[in-house]
């Protein structure tokens, strides 16, 4: 029987790879009896999705602009380097 440490490891790994049949079975059994790991599992999965969406929000937020000084600096360095 898996302990919580092993179960949490598998829960994390399940986001990164397909678990083996044996691992999946072991994890399922553990989650069936352990409400803490079940909680952990739900939170970790939701976090994974949320982080992805924060990044998307930054990418699509038109209020975030390349600062003017940076633009000037880039133009200047391009002009210097094109010669």
């Amino acid at each position: 029987m898996l302990n919580c440490k092993q179960a949490s490891q598998l829960i994390s790994q399940s986001l990164d790879k397909k678990l083996s049949l044996r691992e999946r079975f072991g994890l399922k059994m553990h989650l069936f009896i352990c409400k803490y790991c079940k909680r952990f599992s739900q939170q970790i999965q939701k976090l994974h999705v949320t982080i992805h969406s924060i990044s998307k929000q930054t990418e699509e937020d038109e209020n975030i602009k390349l600062p003017e000084e940076a633009k000037k600096r880039i133009v200047k360095s391009m002009n210097e380097n094109i010669k």
């Binding site: 302990n3 919580c4 440490k5 092993q6 949490s8 490891q9 994390s12 790994q13 986001l15 990164d16 790879k17 803490y36 790991c37 909680r39 952990f40 939170q43 970790i44 939701k46 976090l47 994974h48 949320t50 982080i51 992805h52 924060i54 990044s55 998307k56 930054t58 990418e59 699509e60 937020d61 038109e62 975030i64 602009k65 390349l66 600062p67 940076a70 633009k71 600096r73 880039i74 133009v75 360095s77 391009m78 002009n79 380097n81 094109i82």
Partner: protein, 184 residues
Amino acid sequence: MTTENANDWLNEHGDYLYRFALARLRDPHQAEDVVQETFFAAIKNNSFAEQSSPRTWLTGILKHKIIDVMRKKNRETPASELMHESDANMDEFFDDKGHWVDKPQTWDVPDNLLEQKQFMGVLQKCIDKVPNKLATLFMMRDVEEKDNQEICKELNITTTNAWVMLYRARMGIRKCLEINWIGH
């Protein structure tokens, strides 16, 4: 690509490229730098094919620049901090029988927008607390939806190493959230 072109492209795509970089590097200065390097590389090599859009082409260059920065961050971490399966020290999370030291509490990622915004703020702080190397790997995995093999190749680590590191990063971020979000 001519300088004139470059100026137009900077005006047209500069903001987008900056946001793209910021979403991944989370550091405004580094994001500015990679955008600068991208335009620099763009005027230097003329591989732009007319059939592709300038934005797609520039984003392709930018991606490589971002990975370079991540790789560099990764190298700067001392080798002693490299973790292997056997020595992923999880003592702060589990006792020697493998039971939770602090049992996971009930909390949820909020559904309403206002609360979500606050949550993102806390989450960002928690990600910043995680050691750089872990955060890099974590962001690459959780932001890019890249598969492990690809990330490992880019960062020169083994897949086992990556699983352990991702596990540790997630444990740390979750715990930090639990402490700082429940009590908000």
